[in-house]
């Protein structure tokens, strides 16, 4: 297998291309936040954060933080014109009530039936779940961005999750460092792959069957 793979920035870039103009978007804490940097020119996305802000903008300059104006990752953010504040119950009403167009989350494992594991590796240490179990429900589209394999090289796209679940049958699309994969009717359906990568190479690092449905597109991403 070649060593070729997308960087995190490139995965985030690819995910950002699917965000429609006018979409309401929640980006999970950490890596998914990077997606906001690559919104497509000419399209406007409105970002939601669980702690009660709609239409927030990028981080302020260092030294200009207002720590009453933070996102769910407790990082300082800024406001765009047309922002709104609301309390936590209203905020998660937006989430569960199906008002978000897209939620983009990280993953430890994604199963071919759409199950997601992204909150806990095992049962050691202090468990912490945050808003992940709510975010996987309600958004019209729940997408995952992730490296295709773990640091050890184990597949993250799997038959069924072995880590504790965040949600059942909730993920609809996965953007990995190697491919774009949809989840349909309990199967992984390959939509795009890196052109440098053969189908056999991709299958070797994927933990469940990769179905095909028409042509597989080329996953081509700019240098970032």
């Amino acid at each position: 297998m070649t060593d070729v793979k997308l960087s995190n920035a490139q995965i985030a870039w690819r995910a950002a291309q699917d965000i429609e103009d006018g979409a309401y978007v929640n980006l999970g804490i950490g890596f998914p936040e990077m997606v906001a940097q690559y919104t497509v020119e000419g399209r406007e996305a409105i970002f939601h954060t669980e702690n009660g802000v709609l239409n927030f903008g990028p981080a302020p300059k260092p030294g200009e933080e207002d720590w009453d104006l933070i996102n769910a990752g407790k990082k300082a953010v800024t406001l765009k014109p047309g922002a709104a504040f609301f309390h936590h119950a209203d905020s998660f009403g937006m989430v569960r009530g199906g008002h978000l167009d897209v939620a983009i989350l990280g993953a430890l494992q994604v199963a071919q039936n759409g199950d997601l594991a992204n909150w806990r590796v095992g049962n050691k240490g202090v468990p912490a779940v945050g808003g992940a179990m709510d975010l996987v429900h309600g958004a019209k589209r729940v997408a995952v961005i992730t490296d295709h394999v773990t640091k050890k090289g184990d597949p993250k796209l799997v038959d069924s999750c072995t880590f504790p679940l965040t949600g059942v049958g909730c993920v609809t699309r996965v953007y990995t460092s190697l491919a774009v994969v949809d989840i349909e009717d309990g199967h992984f359906v390959l939509r795009e792959k890196l052109p440098q990568l053969s189908m056999d190479e991709l299958r070797a690092v994927t933990g469940a069957e990769l179905h095909l449905d028409g042509d597989v597109g080329e996953l081509i991403v700019p240098e970032l």
Partner: protein
């Protein structure tokens, strides 16, 4: 992002026959009279209408009922100072009624917007309005299970709106409006004034724009109660 819509006609044109339509307001306070009257002109049939009341006098929801557009009302109080429109149709068996206690109505709509399919309430336990509904005991007290209420469309009256759909309401005209805005697939708003994005303080937004689809400015909107007291008839 700009959710403003050039006119009332364009705002309601897509509402089809058979739609479930939430209409904001409590009595005349917060009732989107201009949207309702434009909807009557558009003329979809066989609607289910959700409102606290069931029309008053000869305007608004009463005029919708008179126009034969309403197959079913879901409401808490289908009476008013002049309830003739609903009463006549109801007594003639020409309109269906789902009667819901007011607090349960509000909570069911709130649940619809918030993705809560069912909840328990003490209200109506042991009464005929609880018949057929599941009952459960919590901490030794009996409660009735109620289901969420959603709609295809909501017609809302706001005070200020910005192009993102952020809304404020005037005094007690708030009532059901923010709940319905969240519980409908598409929310159509008549606002007293559309202001530039940023002109509504983010802390003072009552309905965040995520719940809103179309906004029409109706600067000279009528207050339903005043029309009724003036004996106005919609035609």
């Amino acid at each position: 992002m700009d959710k403003t819509c050039p006119g009332l006609k364009e705002a309601v044109a897509e509402i089809p026959d058979g739609a479930v339509v939430m209409i904001g307001g409590f009595g005349g306070s917060g009732a989107p009279i201009e949207l309702i009257h434009t909807l009557i002109d558009a003329g979809p049939k066989n609607l289910t209408v959700i409102n606290n009341n069931a029309g008053n006098g000869k305007i608004g929801i009463a005029a919708m009922i008179d126009a034969g557009m309403v197959a079913k009302m879901i409401c808490s109080f289908p009476k008013s100072s002049d309830p003739r429109a609903f009463t006549d149709r109801y007594m003639a068996g020409e309109i269906e009624l789902e009667l819901v206690p007011q607090g349960t109505l509000a909570e069911r709509i709130r649940a619809g917007g918030a993705g809560i399919p069912a909840f328990y309430t003490p209200s109506s336990y042991g009464t005929e309005l609880a018949e057929g509904k599941p009952v459960a005991e919590f901490d030794g007290r009996p409660y009735v299970q109620e289901r969420w209420l959603k709609a295809d469309y909501a017609l809302i009256k706001a005070e200020l709106a910005d192009p993102y759909g952020n809304l404020t309401y005037r005094m007690a005209a708030r009532n059901f409006n923010p709940l319905m805005a969240a519980a409908a697939e598409k929310t159509i708003v008549q606002a007293h004034k559309i202001v530039p994005a940023g002109d509504i303080e983010p802390e003072q937004v009552i309905t965040p724009g995520i719940f809103v689809d179309k906004i029409v400015e109706v600067a000279d909107a009528k207050q339903e109660e005043e029309l009724i007291r003036a004996g106005v008839t919609y035609d």
